[in-house]
């Protein structure tokens, strides 16, 4: 293959349009099949964790179970609440589904593919705004769930929708802020340059472990997965925002949840684990693109994203759901200050390193890594003492308790009738 063919395909508008169309069609198919397989994987993982076998009757090892589920959902009667808003009711699952798929568009999932018509970048759209696009689309996702809750005209659905909007808005801030150190390090927002920087300067999970932790927790909350699945808390809200949904509309929410998981896993792999970069070798980042490189880097990306997908499921079948106040205090009182402080810290350290003449390289990675370990130890020593998430009973100092008791007895001595406790028993 001559050097003439190594021009990017964007040089030829027709070829670029055709290549993009093919990418979209192939991606749509692969993405949906992956999502279907994820629903099966979730059931299998849950079964194995609970010492069961999981679905194993439909097809070899249960592989056709998602097809059977899909067929069943197509055949089911579609119900729509009489007093609800039918337009929004139908629109909500579509919003949830589309936003989940859209945010994948900027994630590059393999090294560029050489074709006779030029080099094709393997992201659906190699947008210059990169990560900003993902954040924008992810914040639209909340509309799907909130509108579903509202249009159902059902108190449980509404509560689920409201919880979801509160939760997503709270954690979106922490999520957006946790990513700023990455952008500080890279100096650019395109996914391509984020991967490039990590291939050269070490993965961000080492450089920016604290940001990774914050992003991981926020991503769990953003996708409404356990332990943050308060919007559909079945022990309190029947099924939350999708209580009234049936048939394929319910299925759309289900697909959207797994599509969100897939996108979040892809994002974490890209932002913190080096995307399609194969570790401990520079062979995949340098030289001319080749088919082998594309295949191997895709394998690398799939492994990283697959790890996060498994982690999502593993966490789901391990941890119980947060209480609502714990959820809010974790988001606002822990993650937000942590990520804000971390931005200041990383920015000043980077400035200091640069004034000392140290730029991207092993030394910078080493300094950042030591810094991260220190911050993590401090965070867990200080906060992981019943302060990270408030315990079931509030911690009150003995002095405060005594003061309250004295106040209580003084008040009851003054008033002739027994004092009624506001908010208790009525």
């Amino acid at each position: 293959m001559g050097p003439l063919l190594m021009t990017p395909i964007t040089d030829d508008p027709t070829a670029f349009a055709i290549a993009s169309a093919i990418k979209v069609v192939v991606f749509f198919g692969v993405y949906l099949v992956t999502v279907a397989m994820l629903t099966l994987a979730e059931r299998k993982v849950s079964a194995w964790i609970q010492d069961r076998h999981g679905p194993n009757r439909t097809g070899p090892g249960g592989l056709l179970q998602p097809a059977a589920d899909g067929l069943k959902n197509f055949m089911k009667e579609e119900l729509s609440p009489g007093a609800g808003n039918s337009v929004l009711f139908a629109l909500a699952p579509a919003i949830a589904f589309c936003t989940a798929m859209l945010s994948w568009a900027v994630i590059p999932f393999a090294a560029p593919l050489p074709t006779p018509w030029g080099v094709v970048s393997l992201a659906i759209a190699d947008l210059p705004v990169g990560f900003i696009f993902t954040l924008a689309i992810a914040s639209l996702g909340v509309f799907g769930i909130t509108l579903a809750g509202w249009a159902s005209n059902n108190k449980y659905s509404l509560l689920g929708g409201l919880r979801s909007s509160a939760q997503m808005i709270s954690y979106e801030i922490a999520m957006g802020l946790s990513i700023i150190p990455v952008l500080l390090l890279v100096g650019n927002v395109t996914m391509g340059s984020i991967i490039e920087q990590q291939a050269l300067g070490g993965w961000n999970v080492v450089n920016l472990s604290v940001a990774f932790l914050t992003f991981l927790i926020s991503a769990f909350a953003e996708t409404n997965r356990l332990p943050f699945d308060l919007p559909e808390a079945e022990s309190e809200l029947v099924a939350g925002y999708h209580t009234e949904y049936s048939s394929m509309k319910f299925s759309m929410f289900f697909i959207a949840e797994y599509a969100n998981m897939l996108t979040a896993s892809g994002l974490m792999a890209t932002l913190f684990l080096g995307g399609w970069d194969i570790p401990f070798t520079t062979w995949d980042n340098t030289g001319n693109p080749s088919l082998l490189k594309t295949a191997l880097t895709f394998g690398s990306f799939a492994t990283k994203a697959g790890f996060f997908l498994f982690f999502y499921m593993w966490i789901r079948w391990t941890l119980p759901r947060f209480r609502y106040d714990q959820l809010m205090s974790l988001g606002w009182r822990f993650l937000l200050p942590l990520s804000l402080g971390y931005i200041v810290l990383i920015a000043s350290v980077l400035l200091g390193l640069q004034s000392l003449g140290i730029h991207a390289g092993r030394l910078q990675t080493g300094v950042l890594f030591v810094l991260n370990v220190l911050v993590l130890v401090a965070v867990f020593l200080i906060f992981d003492r019943g302060r990270l998430v408030s315990p079931t009973t509030s911690k009150m100092s003995a002095l405060e308790m005594r003061r309250l008791r004295l106040q209580d007895s003084a008040a009851s001595a003054l008033s002739p009738t027994p004092r009624t406790e506001p908010g208790m028993g009525d």
Partner: protein, 165 residues
């Protein structure tokens, strides 16, 4: 602010969320990779039934293939669910035999009284449970069907256990 809430002062090992989370994750992961599963793969595998299992009825027969039943009427009398229908008949030698003997498996509560009360050891409850039908009528077993059953019958008590006597 809650009043009079008992606040336990626990050591750090017990209140650390990080440690609890990690130990929980390792616990679930051990179960995940553990090849031992508790599920019985039902149609292929079945759990062994107790010798005292009381299931689908069976009428035992004499050597010449006729039912042992002498239509004495004890089993419909003792049946608490009233599920046995018996119309006695008598041949020219004065031997009694059932003209109609039907058991409604839907009404039956599988107490096993019929087997206990039978003087001829004719009617038995069996160690068998796979008796699904498409219609309700299918659950009314007539004499022919009861004698055609081949499954082992209930022993009512464990012969190895002297307390059962």
């Amino acid at each position: 602010m809650a009043i009079n809430v008992k606040v336990m002062d626990r050591p750090v090992e017990q209140v650390s969320y990080l440690r609890a989370t990690l130990s929980g994750l390792s616990h679930t992961f051990r179960h995940l990779v553990d090849p031992h599963k508790v599920t019985t793969q039902y149609p292929e595998e079945t759990e062994a039934l107790s010798k005292r299992w009381r299931g689908t009825h069976r009428m035992l027969t004499t050597e010449d293939g006729t039912a042992k039943c002498v239509a004495c009427g004890l089993c419909p009398t003792v049946c608490p669910a009233n599920c046995i229908k018996l119309v006695p008949g008598e041949d020219e030698h004065g031997n009694r035999f059932p003209l109609v003997f039907e058991i409604d498996e839907f009404r039956c509560i599988f107490c096993g009284y019929c087997q206990e009360v039978c003087p001829e050891e004719a009617i038995h409850v069996g160690r068998h449970y796979e008796n699904a039908e498409y219609t309700r009528d299918g659950f009314v077993y007539d004499l022919e069907r009861l004698t055609a059953q081949t499954h082992p019958v209930c022993e009512l008590w464990d012969p190895a256990d002297p307390a059962g006597e």
